[in-house]
């Protein structure tokens, strides 16, 4: 579904390279976890895949269902079925969740030649998805993320993902700052959406979330590259030993193991 080949990226207009040759393949139905210390580039990777204008791809390619998407704008990527759950969901005063989601849903449906939902149908559809994150109806009428608590913002990201039902979702630190109850709700939500045709990439610093959402693959990113990939056990190893042993390894050998 997604194929990233030798991806290099810099901050637009600056020389500092943040991604230094990333390779990643994700197939339908898979759950991947990308782990790494702060500043390793894992958040940048999700933004670059989503098409954030702040970053410029200098080398390599991102293929989504065989199509190179590096030149596409963020909205065009979203139309293809790419979703990013933001690490810091942005507040947009004056626009309600419902307004945004209906516009999003219908725009995406339109661009895929599917039928749009009228306001009443859409309302019912939204309510069915609200249960996933255990939120009240009033949640729909609030301005996007405005005045939301940290936990509510993260739940809102999972809710939006459930509504838009993307083929591939990058979830950037969706677990950070959640208390245990909220973490379970978010994890439950993710599990309900995952599987079948959809693929999910969890970008996280800790393996906390991975107790509830079981990844098929775990990749460790350090200094703009993947230094190690494995299955779920790798996450547990990291929990025990931290990132140091991997960092040292890269330092010594000069390249990823």
């Amino acid at each position: 579904m997604l194929e990233i080949k030798n991806l290099h990226a810099v901050v637009e207009g600056e020389d500092i390279e943040i991604l230094k040759g990333v390779d990643l393949t994700i197939n339908k139905g898979e759950i991947h976890a990308i782990m790494g210390p702060n500043g390793s580039g894992k958040s940048t990777l999700s933004k670059v895949v989503a098409g954030h204008p702040e970053y410029e791809v200098t080398k390599g390619e991102i293929l989504f269902e065989g199509e190179d998407i590096t030149e596409l704008d963020a909205d065009e990527r979203a139309h293809l079925g790419l979703f990013l759950a933001f690490q810091y969901p942005v507040e947009v005063p004056g626009i309600t969740n419902k307004t945004l989601l209906r516009e999003s849903y219908n725009t995406i449906a339109r661009s895929n030649g599917k039928e749009e939902l009228d306001p009443l149908e859409f309302e019912d559809y939204l309510k069915s998805k609200l249960e996933i994150i255990d939120m009240k109806d009033s949640f729909l009428e609030r301005s996007i993320n405005t005045g939301f608590s940290g936990g509510e913002k993260k739940k809102n990201e999972v809710f939006q993902m459930a509504v838009l039902n993307p083929k591939l979702a990058f979830m950037d630190e969706t677990d950070s700052g959640l208390d245990i109850d909220a973490l379970k709700i978010v994890a439950d939500g993710i599990n309900k959406i995952a599987g079948g045709e959809n693929a999910i990439v969890l970008v996280t610093h800790y393996q906390r979330l991975l107790n509830y959402v079981k990844p098929d693959y775990v990749h460790v990113m350090i200094d703009g590259k993947f230094v190690k990939s494995g299955d779920r056990k790798l996450a547990l190893e990291l929990e025990d030993q931290g990132y140091d042993w991997l960092e040292n390894k890269t330092m010594v050998n000069g390249e990823a193991q």
């Binding site: 098409g51 963020a74 979203a78 933001f86 969901p89 942005v90």
Partner: protein, 480 residues
């Protein structure tokens, strides 16, 4: 910055109403003196008291100095070369639509305002003012059944002199300020509305102002009176052709609300704004004021200001009656070289009077957008309350946003709260919305829409769509 460009192109969309209509005009000399005023009054067959009103205003005006305290710079109008009266030659009898010059009818069709009653927006009566002369008023009979008088001010002077005499100049005195005095001296026409006691006006009333003639100044006069326990909602729309020369528009609007009466006055102002280099465009120097004379009365101003090269306009409410309420909701958008200095005055005189001010300014391009407001709590206004919010949004690096609120209180039981903020459309907000599949243009529309919707929801429902279209926001049905 691409989102900036996108928004600029959105609100800077080419002016759709810039065509001009080729009609014949009555000849009238340029310049201004007492003879011209006498001639003007004579042509309109006005009574003596009206002429006296005009002359008194003119004499006052001559003594006055053109003000310059506002935050705008422009070439001053040349008052001696202006034409102070301009009327289409084929003046209709104002009774039948068939009498209206087909070219003028066509103009209104083009503007999307059909004058035929069967084509009109449901529940909206229209007074069409073409170059300061009322050319047609629709639904007159239907309104008359309810006892509502809705006609041109010229007709009102002929047919309802006692009302005009009593109220004209009672809110905006003939010598109130430079432009109001000029208007009082030379006003050509405008709308008049009288809602009798215990009457809810059955329709939305609206006036569509159209400037067509290149050389004439535009001086309309509007007077609305709401008697005890009455209610009326009124909307004005304004467009003008594109000319290279600046044109002066100096109108006066007076509102009088008696006991328990409510007047809602909305404006969608889309005069020609001039081109990118600031060439041409309307000088919109308007005095609008309402008096809440009776207890529990209410006057509400809502304005969407998108046009004009220079706008100086402060719709105000004098809160005389105890428990009266004044409201001001405004969205002012400036782009290119436009300059807007607009806001309101809330003068609290009565006890427990309440006022609310919500002002949203959006500046883009090389424009300057200023909010200027005054809240005055006089000594006797026990328990008066004011709440004001003035927010500005900046788009691009070369525009300015300014806030000048004057607040004064002489009463210890009153409370005044004022908040203002200035911010910009954020890149992160746009990316967030784009990631949800929304195009950049639509994302900006949504943000702008979210910024102004608190104000737009105050517009009469029938015009909300027009307002949205004007802001070129494409989210039909999702606002509100």
């Amino acid at each position: 910055m691409s989102e900036t460009e996108a928004l600029e192109s959105m609100i800077g969309e080419e002016y759709k109403y810039g065509f001009s209509t080729d009609v014949e005009y009555e000849e009238f000399p340029k310049g201004l003196n007492e003879d011209i005023i006498r001639e003007l009054s004579a042509r309109k067959e006005e009574p003596e008291w009206m002429l006296e009103f005009r002359l008194k205003a003119y004499r006052g005006w001559k003594e006055m100095v053109e003000p310059d305290w506002f935050n705008a710079t422009y070439e001053k109008p040349k008052f001696d070369t202006l034409q102070y009266y301009s009327a289409p030659k084929n003046k209709p009898k104002l009774d039948s639509l068939d009498d209206v010059d087909p070219k003028i009818r066509e103009t209104y069709e083009k503007l999307g305002i059909p004058l035929e009653e069967q084509k009109a927006l449901a529940g909206v009566a229209v007074d069409a003012v073409f170059d300061s002369v009322s050319v047609f008023t629709s639904f007159k009979e239907k309104l008359a059944e309810a006892g509502v008088i809705f006609c041109s001010i010229s007709e009102a002077i002929q047919n309802h002199p006692e009302l005009v005499k009593k109220y004209m100049g009672s809110v905006v005195p003939a010598r109130d300020n430079f432009y109001a005095a000029l208007n009082s001296a030379v006003f050509s026409d405008g709308s008049f509305c009288y809602v009798p006691k215990d009457t809810i006006c059955p329709m939305e009333l609206s006036t569509y102002f159209r400037i067509n003639n290149m050389n004439s100044g535009q001086f309309e006069r509007t007077l609305i009176i709401a008697e005890d326990n009455s209610h009326v909602s009124y909307l004005e729309g304004c467009t003008a052709p594109m000319y290279d020369e600046h044109q002066l528009h100096a109108a006066v609007v007076e509102l009088v609300a008696l006991e328990n009466a409510e007047i809602k006055y909305s404006t969608i102002q889309n005069w020609y704004a001039g081109d990118e280099d600031g060439k041409g465009g309307i000088y919109n120097f308007v005095t609008k004021r309402g008096a809440c004379r009776g207890k529990n009365s209410k006057i509400s101003w809502t304005q969407l200001e998108t046009g004009s090269a220079v706008t100086l306009k402060y719709p105000s409410v004098i809160l005389q009656g105890d428990n009266s309420v004044g409201e001001f909701y405004s969205v002012a958008v400036t782009n290119m070289r436009q300059q807007a200095d607009t806001g309101t005055k809330m003068i609290h005189l009565g006890k427990n009077t309440k006022s609310t001010i919500i002002s949203k300014g959006i500046s883009a391009g090389n424009s300057d957008n200023s909010y200027r407001g005054e809240v005055k709590i006089s000594k006797k206004a026990d328990g008066a309350r004011n709440y004001s919010v003035c927010d500005s949004m900046l788009i691009g690096q070369t525009c300015g946003a300014h806030t000048f609120p004057y607040i004064s209180s002489e009463n210890p039981t009153a409370s005044v709260e004022h908040e203002a903020s200035t911010s910009r459309v954020g890149e992160e907000q746009i990316f967030y919305l784009m990631q949800r599949g929304i195009s950049e243009q639509d994302a900006i529309s949504m943000i702008v829409n979210g910024f102004v919707k608190e104000v737009l929801k105050e517009l009469p429902l029938e015009f909300a769509t027009e307002a949205n279209a004007l802001l070129n926001v494409k989210l039909e049905g999702s606002v509100g």
